[in-house]
Structures are given as C-alpha cells and as structure tokens.
C-alpha cells in the first residue's frame, strides 16, 4: 500500500491548464500575441492528417451541447464537422460508416493529465512533473517536460481522448504552465500542441505544498500557502503595472521575468487558472484570493468537497474538474462522495467536468461518468446521457478555452469524433473509431490504425 500511497500522492501532486482566444484559426496558428511574446515561443507545429470525407449514418448522436439525435448522420469534411442531421448526402469520395446501433460523441477531453511528464514506465529519470525546488515556479512549463513517447497517449486514444491538458504537479503553490495537446502521436511536443489554445496555470491548495516544503523553508501550513500566493501576485501586479506604464509612456519595459510573465498573463486574462484544491473552505479562500488580485479561476481540480459549495461555483462560473469516486487517500480527500459530480452539475450554469489525473482513468472517462450518473440516480438525480457527455466534452473544452474549436459536434468545429459500440456510459463501451481533425487515428479493429510509441517497439517478446 505504501507504493500505492506514494503513487497516489505523487499523482495528487500534479495539475495545470490554459485559456484560449480560439478563433477559427487554421491548424498551425501560434497565437503569438502576449505582450511579452511568450506564447510565440515553442509554437505549435501541429498539422492535421488530411483525410477523405466521412459520413457516419444512422447513429445515436450526442452533440455535446445537451442535444441527442436518434438515427442521425454526422459528416466530417476537410477536418471539420460539416453537418449533423438526418439523411445527409455523402460528398464524392466520402467514406461511409454504418452507425446503426452505435453512438457518436465529440472526442473526449481530459483537462487534467500528467501523460508525458509522469510517463510510463514510471522511472526516476521520467519524473518531470514537479519542479520541487521552490514553492512558486510559474516560470516552468509542462510542455518542456512532456515525453511524447509515453505509451499512455495511445491507450488514452483508445479510450476516445482527442484533446488533453498536461499539467505540472501539485507540489508547488504555483506549479507552472500547463499545455493543451491534440492526442496525435508525434516526435515533438510542439507537433502535438493544440493550435491557438491558451496556456493554463497550475496552482495547488492544501496538503501537498505544505508537506513538500514544510521542512524546507516553507510553507509549512495552509496560512503559509495563502501568504505564498499573495506574495507572488503582489509581485505580478507590480510587474504588470510597470510593463503597462512602459508601454503607455514609451519607456523601457522592466527586464523580462519568466515567473512574472506567467502571472501577469493570469492578471491579463490570457492564461487560465487551474487550481488543485480538495476542501470547500480552501476553494472559498482561493476565490477570495482571485478577488483580491482581480483574476478569474477557471476550474478547481479534484475538488472532492465541491458538492459543499456547488451553488457558489456555478454562480461564480468556476468549473469543477472531478473524479467519480476517489476519496480517503489523504485527510483533505476524506469527505469525498460519489455524488460529487452530480451535485456540482445540478445548479443552473454549472460546469462539471470528469477529469482523470491518471494514466488509467484517462482511458475510461466514459466509465467514470457512468459511475457519476449511477450515483446521482441513487440519490434521486436523473441525468441523461446527452447531459452527462458535456462533462467529458463541452465543459472540458470551456475550461481549456477551446470551446469554439472542439468539444461539441456543431458544424465548423474540429472533426474530433468518437464512434462507440453502444452507449458510452457502460463498462462494456468501446471506442471503436476515433477521428481527430477528420482523420481516422484509432480503429479498434484495425491494428494499422493504432499508434505504437517508440518505447514499445521490440519490447516484451511475442504479444
């Protein structure tokens, strides 16, 4: 159990995210418009795989916006969702897919993954998710740790994951920038970067930072944690002010500071804030912190007590990225309940998200959602599949700031699509085919359409 515990704690130590001002930018846009030019660095070189049009016909279609269509067709063309409806006609050269008896959903999105930064195999040499050298490290970027050969990307794809945010861990009060990736196998992380997706900032509440730094200069307490966030944002506010003043008056800008660049990006609203935070009282502290420094929190991650403040989260427009059933592995997880997602989803204008924080969980977010639906039902809350799918698609896209690019099957969006063998909300569900930007990049029945990482080549004897 100790090993498990360490694994859980290590995992619990991770997270971050990014916002987007997603226009309908063509694929390789670099979104290089930060005042400091930072987002031009390490620009996306993602290229969609070109493919013939695809017409999926006669399926149960969950659009991702709360709608469900029976016996419907979905047309993918030029990398986009071209149309969803009945009796669509196939363009010349289109590949036809019989969807009878099957379900179609948007590609799934995991807002909290450590694939690549804590990859398999979990060797010490691979442990690149927590810059545990100081409690405030907004200068580090998860993308500089991502190992694209993590075999977990392929197994996540088999679970229908088309987009994911890789976050730094939660050892630090401010852990660094996260990066949003398209789940397309590549040799460099730049080739995976979601074009134009905003950056995320990973922050962490509670036990992890104070445990890691308690004997190393602090913080050693939760009050120390909060003092640490405030000190960082005081510096950031001053930096942003000087930078603005310099721009206004044509004076020299202050020397560029990677830490303050990121935090100033948060204050400007360009970088989305994702906070690892379990307890309701601590989430309330962080909401007050955001008020003090005038920034927005995009999502609380893990939030095992989010159900205690579900109304407030919805009212403040903050997403809750949650597990279906994790609890009890540390004190701040002791009050976890299986109805957490259902209760966070319940208020008007809510934003419940199913996240994984796990190389196993990311393979079956659909099953995690199924558990949350079942728990809700047990408590008298009926949740339809067309509503629940939003937890894995549209709401997740909103939290990553890419909701106008992906996350639903609305025409014009990226053709990120999963064909399921039946309802996705079952232990027996299989993603049969997965398209990303219109290209068939996973087929359960065709080994030629299943990516294999460099690491797995020549390994393990005969399979």
């Amino acid at each position: 159990m100790l090993r498990t515990l360490i694994a859980v704690l290590a995992t619990a130590l991770l997270a971050s995210c990014a916002p987007t001002r997603a226009t309908r930018a063509p694929a390789p846009a670099a979104a290089a418009d930060d005042a400091d030019g930072a987002s031009a660095a390490f620009a996306s070189t993602y290229r969609a795989v070109s493919a013939a049009p695809v017409l999926i016909s006669g399926a149960t279609v969950l659009i991702g916006d709360g709608q469900r269509l029976e016996g419907a067709d979905v047309l993918l063309q030029d990398g986009r969702i071209a149309a969803v409806g009945r009796q669509l006609s196939a363009p010349a050269g289109a590949l036809r897919v019989d969807g009878t008896g099957k379900w179609v959903t948007p590609g799934l999105i995991d807002v909290h993954s450590h694939l690549g930064v804590y990859p398999s195999p979990g060797m010490r040499a691979h442990s690149d998710g927590n810059e545990m050298t100081a409690p405030v490290t907004p200068n580090v970027w998860a993308e500089h740790s991502v190992w694209p050969q993590d075999p977990g990307f392929a197994t996540a794809l088999a679970g229908g994951i088309t987009t994911l945010q890789i976050l730094p861990g939660s050892a630090n009060l401010i852990g660094g920038r996260g990066v949003t990736l398209k789940n397309v196998a590549a040799t460099t992380v730049q080739d995976m970067k979601f074009p134009g997706a905003p950056y995320g900032l990973k922050m962490a509440c509670g036990e992890n930072p104070k445990r890691v730094y308690g004997q190393r200069g602090g913080p050693a307490t939760r009050m120390g944690n909060v003092a640490g966030y405030r000190a960082a944002f005081i510096d950031a506010a001053e930096y942003a002010h000087k930078r603005q003043e310099a721009a206004d008056k044509g004076k020299d800008a202050p020397k560029r500071d990677l830490k303050l660049d990121t935090l100033a990006g948060v204050l400007d609203g360009d970088i989305l804030v994702h906070i690892h935070c379990y307890r309701a009282d601590e989430m309330a502290q962080m909401l007050d912190l955001a008020r003090e420094f005038d920034f927005r929190i995009t999502a609380f991650h893990h939030g095992v007590e989010a159900y205690k403040i579900a109304d407030r989260l919805a009212a403040e427009g903050v997403c809750g990225a949650l597990w279906a059933d994790w609890w009890g592995f540390k004190m701040e997880a002791f009050d976890g309940i299986q109805e957490n997602i259902a209760l966070v989803d319940r208020p008007a204008r809510s934003c419940a998200i199913v996240h994984s924080d796990s190389e196993e969980g990311i393979q079956r977010l659909n099953q995690e959602a199924a558990k949350a639906i079942a728990a809700g039902q047990r408590a008298g809350i009926e949740i339809t599949p067309e509503r629940a799918i939003r937890w894995l698609t549209a709401n997740a896209a909103r939290a990553l700031g890419i909701q106008d690019r992906t996350g639903t099957l609305e025409p014009g969006k990226m053709a990120d699509v999963v064909l399921w063998n039946g309802t996705p909300f079952s232990v027996y569900a299989h993603a049969e085919r997965v398209w990303i930007d219109g290209a068939l990049l996973y087929d359960r029945n065709d080994p030629a359409r299943q990516p294999v990482s460099d690491f797995m080549l020549g390994q393990g004897g005969a399979r």
Binding site: I337, A370, G380, G461
Partner: protein
C-alpha cells in the same frame, strides 16, 4: 422545494435500524447468479434461515419468513473487495492510521523478517471504509500484510474478513511475499537476492540453520509459522508481475510443494498454460495495461481473458487505491469481460475464486444451500458501473445502505440554510 423535500424523505426512508437481527427471509423472483455449478437461475427464490441459505429454487414456500419480491433483479453473492487494508488504514496519507506493514528495522538495509506478524490483529471493524465498501456490494476482503523497508519481502500474514462488523477473520491465515523490482530494494537491490533469501528461510524452517546462528533471520516463532506454509499447505500470496519472475516462482514453489497464489501478474498471460497446470490462481488487475515499470512491459487488457482461456482460475485485485475504492473491483471485472473474459468468469473472480483460494468457500462466495446468506441485490448488471447495489445482506441481515458518504451527501443535498429566516447551519441537520 418539493424536489428537495422528496429527496430528503427518500434518504430518510433508507435509514434502517443498525444492529438489526437476522430474520428469516424469502427473496422471491430474482435472477440468481449462484457463482456455482448451478449457474444462473431466472425467476428463482432464495430462502434465508438463521443467517444461512436454506433453499434455492422456484416456488419456494415462505413458511413464516418475510418475503421480498426482487422483481427479476440480479442477486449475487456478496462480492470480494480484493486484497486490501480495509479496517487497517483510515487515511492512506496519515501514518498514524496505517497498520498494514511491520517495520522493526531502521531501513531497507536492516531487514527484519517476521512471518509471524499477523495483520488481522489490527483490524478495526468500525472503520468508515466498511460501510462504503458494503454500499458497493462488497461483503468480504483479504487483508494483506505488506513488505517494506525495515521489514522484509515477507510482509507477514493476513486473512479473510467479512465486512459485517465482526472482529475476527474467518478461514486460514495467508502469507504475503513480494517479488520483483518493487521489492528488490529489500534484498540488496537485486531480485536474484529474493531467491537466495527464500531458500534461506526454507532452510531455517527445516532446522538446517541453528536458531542462534548469526545468520539466522527467523525467530523460533517465525520458523513455526513458516512451517505452516512450507510444510502444511498454507496459502502464500506472491506479489509479482514479470513473466521471468513468475517462471522462477513456479519452479521454486513446485520444488517445495507450496500452495501459492499470484497478486498482480501483469505478464502472467505469458505463462498461462504453466499456471493452469500448477493450479495457481492469479488475482489480476485488468486495468493494468501500461508498462508502469520494467516488470510490466507485457501488460495487456487481455490478461484475464487469456489466463481464463488457458484454464487458470482468475480473480481480481487492484493496483490503485485498493482499500478506499474497493468498490472499484467490479469495474475491473467488467472491463475484463469487455475484453474477452466470459461474464460468468468475471463474477467468479469476485466471488467463488477468492473464496476457494483463501479457504472460505465452505462459508461464502456462492449462493448454495448451507452457505452464509451474504447476498447483494442489484438494479442491473452487477459488473456494469452503470448500475448499483440496492441491498446487501450479510449473514441474512439487511445492512443499511448508508455510509459516512451518504450522510455527507444528504447534509448537502438541500439548499443552504437561510439564517435570516432562522434556519440553523447544516451542522445541525438531523443524524440518522
């Protein structure tokens, strides 16, 4: 507001009295998954008398027993929760709440071998983990003693406990030994050292090394306990993943005529035929499909299906948070079924297989006359996470489908109290 009220009352109605006595009960018209050679019985009845299963069939007479119409729903044996620390740890991250490992030595270089360590003596049946597990249809679990620094690769002994609040384990003790890379730090950083040590323990047990030898590792009591496993057929559970290690284990255990089981076994499918021939049950984690380390390069979703096809008895155990989330074990079974394991074998891995492997099959693990009435009623397919347990009986007692988690849920189901209207804070909500 009506909706809140309805939910509140619904919740209250679920609050059955704790400490209810076993009453005779006829569960009528269930789909009975017996997990035995009787297979699945549709529209069948199960009669419970004095905490035991008195009859299974159709058209049974109640004979004074109260009657529950299952309306065709699935009835299974109460499920195995896996190899866990339920009742041995309350909060994993808090050492003060953990009792599953013995570390008498200073560190990994100060090995202390205590097979006589019996972790069941630490078992706390009042742990909040028990009702949480029961809500998931779990009725029994195998408590494990874990290897670790300051101890040795021999973790010690555990045993099966039923999650009905009783204090004592049932059935024989089980010895736990860890092999492979995760345990190599305990044997001079090489897994080859594990065989050197195990051979030494056998020699000591058989008296070939004097107790007072400076090289002796076992206490006299440790030798006596080891003899129960080495000479008298006690079950030893080996935690091991790599095929090469499993091959060595099979040779070693056959040399000493041991009764073993494997927990983990990520690469066990590569030795499926040999494991079947040796009659070694394997408790796999069907979700372990990634090369988490270099012992699990061959991990695959097909592991359970391939082992079963070769004739291996397949049970389940999980690598993740096995204790707090023991309820996830049926999701593991369901995924094994989704990847080729026959459904009946999936249920068997949660019932009959662990009961037989750990010496309690005479009492539980199947729905057969004479067995304890440890049963679960489900609102759908028991292996599908889309469905939940609606009632669990242990020893014929219908235990309340409540836990600390449902208490929390119900406290926060209602809108925030309106203090201006004189409503009290949530902390004043009635206790059930």
């Amino acid at each position: 507001m009506n909706r809140w009220l309805t939910i509140g009352l619904f919740g209250f109605a679920l609050a059955l009295p704790l400490g209810a006595a076993a009453q005779d009960l006829l569960i009528r018209n269930a789909t009975v998954y017996t997990a035995s050679s009787h297979g699945t019985l549709k529209g069948a009845d199960v009669l419970i008398r004095a905490g035991r299963i008195a009859a299974v069939g159709t058209g049974l007479a109640a004979g004074g027993a109260s009657v529950l119409d299952a309306q065709g729903q699935a009835l299974t044996p109460a499920l195995f929760g896996g190899i866990t620390h339920i009742g041995l740890e309350e909060v994993s991250g808090e050492a003060a709440t953990r009792d599953a490992g013995l570390a008498l030595g200073a560190d990994a270089h100060h090995m202390v071998v205590r097979p006589e360590f019996d972790v069941t003596l630490a078992y706390n049946p009042a742990s909040v983990l028990l009702p949480v597990a029961r809500m998931g249809g779990i009725g029994f679990t195998l408590l494990s003693a874990d290897a670790g620094a300051g101890g040795s690769i021999v973790g010690g002994q555990g045993g099966i406990v039923r999650l009905d609040g009783s204090s004592d384990p049932i059935g024989p003790r089980v010895l736990f030994i860890s092999l492979g890379s995760s345990a190599a730090s305990l044997t001079g950083t090489s897994r080859a050292g594990q065989w050197l040590l195990l051979d030494r323990f056998v020699a000591e047990t058989h008296g070939r090394i004097p107790v007072d030898s400076p090289h002796a590792r076992l206490t006299p009591e440790g030798r006596r306990v080891m003899a129960g496993y080495i000479d008298r057929g006690g079950r030893i559970v080996f935690r091991v993943e790599r095929a090469a290690d499993i091959r060595q284990l099979l040779a070693w255990s056959q040399r000493h005529h041991l009764e073993i089981a494997i927990a983990g076994g990520a690469e066990a499918w590569q030795l499926a035929a040999q494991l079947a021939a040796a009659k070694v049950p394997v408790f796999v984690d069907p979700l372990a499909n990634l090369p988490s380390d270099f012992d699990q390069i061959g991990a695959t979703m097909d592991n359970a299906a391939r082992l079963h096809a070769a004739g291996v008895e397949v049970g389940f155990s999980q690598a993740g948070d096995a204790s707090h989330n023991a309820r996830k074990l049926r999701q593991l079974a369901g995924n094994a079924v989704a990847n080729g394991l026959p459904w009946e074998a999936g249920l068997a891995g949660l019932t009959r297989v662990p009961a037989e492997a750990f010496g309690v099959a005479g009492q539980l693990g199947s729905i057969e006359v004479g067995k304890r009435a440890d049963l679960v009623l489900w609102n759908g397919d028991p292996l599908d996470v889309a469905h939940t347990a609606t009632q669990i009986w242990l020893g014929g007692i219908a235990l309340p489908m409540r836990s600390r988690q449902t208490e929390l849920r119900d406290r926060y189901m209602t809108p925030p109290p309106d203090r201006a209207a004189g409503q009290l804070p949530r902390a004043y909500s009635p206790r059930r």
